[in-house]
């Protein structure tokens, strides 16, 4: 038995499927935080704060009941917990003792504070401007970018502290696109709430929908039929190809390669037209539903898709040359170097993923199992966790059902992990490269703004 399993041993568990959730004492919670585990997510509901750890191949959901609204912070041991703790404060009102208590999603414009707690608080008397770390040196200056930033992009704010043209510090402020999705999903049936899961992030709508559907199915102890599950996987591949092509096209455009940008754009557009013909929607929104899928792919659609994918496959070697040599490579080399590689490496990884996903999608669409498209969901109570790998990283959904209705839910987007990483990587870089470096990360906003 490993350390983590030893720590949680004996703690009462909630029947969360497929991984039981341990309700820990303060000591167990604090001891587990010190273990070298990977923190995937932290969130809350009205009575408990939850954390999702990865321990090797195992996934470990744990909880703690806050004592007079306080719980021990995870951020001293897991820096990535900082944004989760600020979100838990803003939405549920639980405070992380020893952690970061700054505002994140709540900018002081909502009709009340703590919208997800049992008793939401009053609205703050005045809206607070976003707070950033003070600048002590008068040689330094600050460059604010956003929330109405350049290009056709998501709304976020990046505050760069500059020494000349060099970035000394990068701070992000999000929450601008907060739509109150968790409140909207609450007390709805999973079939209706799936429409919100599908609109957390438009370029990862399939991945979010799959994670949500799997969590629902785990909580209701049902399984999607084989054809539905194969079609989901196919759609996931297709979405990742389209999103990666879109990200690559944006980077190429910013780096001044109209050819690479055009090629990515054309392939993405043909793919989206194929998706509209095959699944009835260019982004495949609302096609994945809890219990299965809502649309079948007929033989004509699949053969059209096969052709489109052949085109993508033929394009990859060309893009490989364009991104690997010449002006594009020269512009990208050395940018945003850090623990997560640099800009050329991130582009290369995207291109490799396009190739792999195209191969897998072609193999899968030639070999789809026959059978029904969905199963009915029993109106039962239960708790479940679902997962799906999007183009930008893993997506995790947790939810609890009460007689077939959603009692509490939390979707975790890869943005939570990517933004802190981008902040670290931006420090030390040239200010003029900031937009390109951010584009190389493909930073998602809406999914983590909830």
């Amino acid at each position: 038995m490993n350390r983590a399993a030893e720590i949680v041993k004996g703690a009462p568990t909630a029947d969360c499927r497929p991984w039981p959730r341990h309700i820990l004492s303060i000591d167990q919670w604090a001891e587990l935080a010190r273990e070298p585990l990977m923190l995937l997510a932290a969130w809350a509901d009205t009575g408990q704060v939850h954390a999702l750890y990865r321990d090797g191949a195992a996934v470990l959901p744990v909880s703690i009941e806050p004592d007079a609204a306080f719980y021990p912070a995870l951020s001293p041991f897991h820096p990535s917990a900082k944004l989760f703790e600020r979100t838990i404060r803003d939405l549920w009102g639980h405070m992380a003792a020893g952690g970061d208590d700054g505002a994140w999603l709540d900018h002081g414009h909502w009709p009340h504070s703590r919208p997800l707690s049992i008793r939401p608080g009053p609205r703050p008397p005045t809206a607070e401007p976003p707070e950033f770390l003070p600048v002590e040196d008068d040689r330094l200056m600050q460059w604010p970018i956003g929330p109405v930033g350049p290009g056709i992009a998501e709304a976020s704010h990046l505050r760069l502290t500059l020494d000349g043209s060099r970035i000394v510090r990068a701070e992000s402020r999000l929450g601008y696109t907060h739509k109150g999705v968790l409140t909207l999903m609450r007390s709805k049936s999973p079939r209706i709430a799936a429409r919100f899961a599908a609109r957390l992030a438009g370029d990862a709508t399939v991945a979010h929908s799959i994670a949500f559907a799997r969590a629902t199915e785990a909580a209701s102890s049902v399984e999607a039929p084989p054809r539905a599950s194969a079609l989901r996987t196919l759609m996931l591949y297709l979405e990742r190809i389209a999103t990666n092509l879109d990200d690559l096209g944006v980077v190429a455009g910013m780096a001044g390669s109209a050819e690479a940008q055009g090629r990515c754009g054309v392939r993405q557009e043909y793919l989206r037209r194929g998706l509209a013909a095959t699944f009835g929607h260019r982004l495949m929104m609302d096609v994945v539903v809890p219990g299965g899928v809502s649309a079948d792919a007929d033989a004509i659609g699949l053969s059209a898709m096969r052709q489109v994918l052949g085109g993508v496959q033929a394009e990859v070697p060309v893009l490989d040359v364009l991104f690997g040599t010449g002006t594009l490579a020269a512009r990208l080399t050395g940018l945003g170097a850090g623990a997560a590689g640099d800009a050329p490496r991130r582009c290369q990884a995207r291109l490799d993923a396009v190739y792999r996903d195209t191969e897998s999608a072609i193999a899968l669409l030639l070999d789809l199992p026959e059978g029904p498209l969905s199963v009915a969901l029993p109106p039962e109570s239960g708790e479940g966790i679902g997962w799906a790998p999007s183009a930008r990283g893993d997506i995790w959904h947790w939810l609890r059902l009460d007689h077939g209705q959603i009692a509490a839910v939390f979707p975790c987007d890869p943005g939570w992990e990517l933004w802190p990483l981008a902040e670290v990587v931006l420090a030390g870089q040239e200010a003029g490269d900031a937009a390109l470096i951010c584009a190389s990360f493909g930073l998602p906003v809406s999914g983590m703004d909830l």
Partner: protein, 174 residues
């Protein structure tokens, strides 16, 4: 301008020749009124995100690509509202972005148009009624054109913008 004595004369290129009146008249005749109308119009568009899920952005980006190529119609995206004729708004208008939208609108010089694209920007879409959203662009600034869809296809966005281009050139003296 009177140059001091002994001063070298101004270089030739800086002394523009007067435009030949006959050429202008002949050109105007050849181009005709229709062509003049076509050549003399363009709209600069600034995108403002008011809380979109990134779906509308995906489709709006597509119209800048080589297959839809909005620049051939005289349309182009600009980086600042100061340079814009049109604000292209996406998202249900979250409360956290109302101020940003109002500031962008104030910064856009007259005459200006507002195009709300996507079901969210039209009336809040699925997010309508949430504590965090204002139910669409029109709750903060006047909207001239709405393009529904979740998200609207690039073809629909482009035809909406072209309709605006046609309409905006109608009231212009040719």
């Amino acid at each position: 301008m009177k140059l001091p004595a002994g001063w070298p004369p101004l270089p030739e290129a800086e002394r523009p020749d007067p435009v030949d009146g006959n050429t202008v008249a002949a050109l105007a005749e050849r181009l005709g009124l229709v062509s003049q109308g076509r050549l003399g119009r363009a709209l600069a568009i600034r995108h403002v995100n008011t809380g979109s899920c990134n779906g509308c952005e995906l489709e709006a980006r597509a119209i800048t690509g080589v297959l839809y190529d909005l620049t051939r119609f005289g349309l182009r995206f600009v980086d600042s509202p100061l340079h814009a004729d049109v604000l292209l708004v996406t998202g249900p208008l979250t409360r956290n972005l109302r101020l940003a939208l109002e500031q962008a609108w104030d910064a856009t010089p007259e005459p200006k148009w507002v195009v709300a694209i996507g079901d969210c920007a039209v009336d809040g879409g699925v997010f309508r009624g949430s504590y965090a959203v204002m139910d669409g662009t029109a709750s903060a600034i006047p909207v001239d054109l709405t393009i529904s869809g979740c998200p609207p296809s690039p073809a629909r966005i482009l035809s909406g913008l072209r309709a605006l281009l046609e309409a905006s050139s109608l009231d212009r003296p040719n």
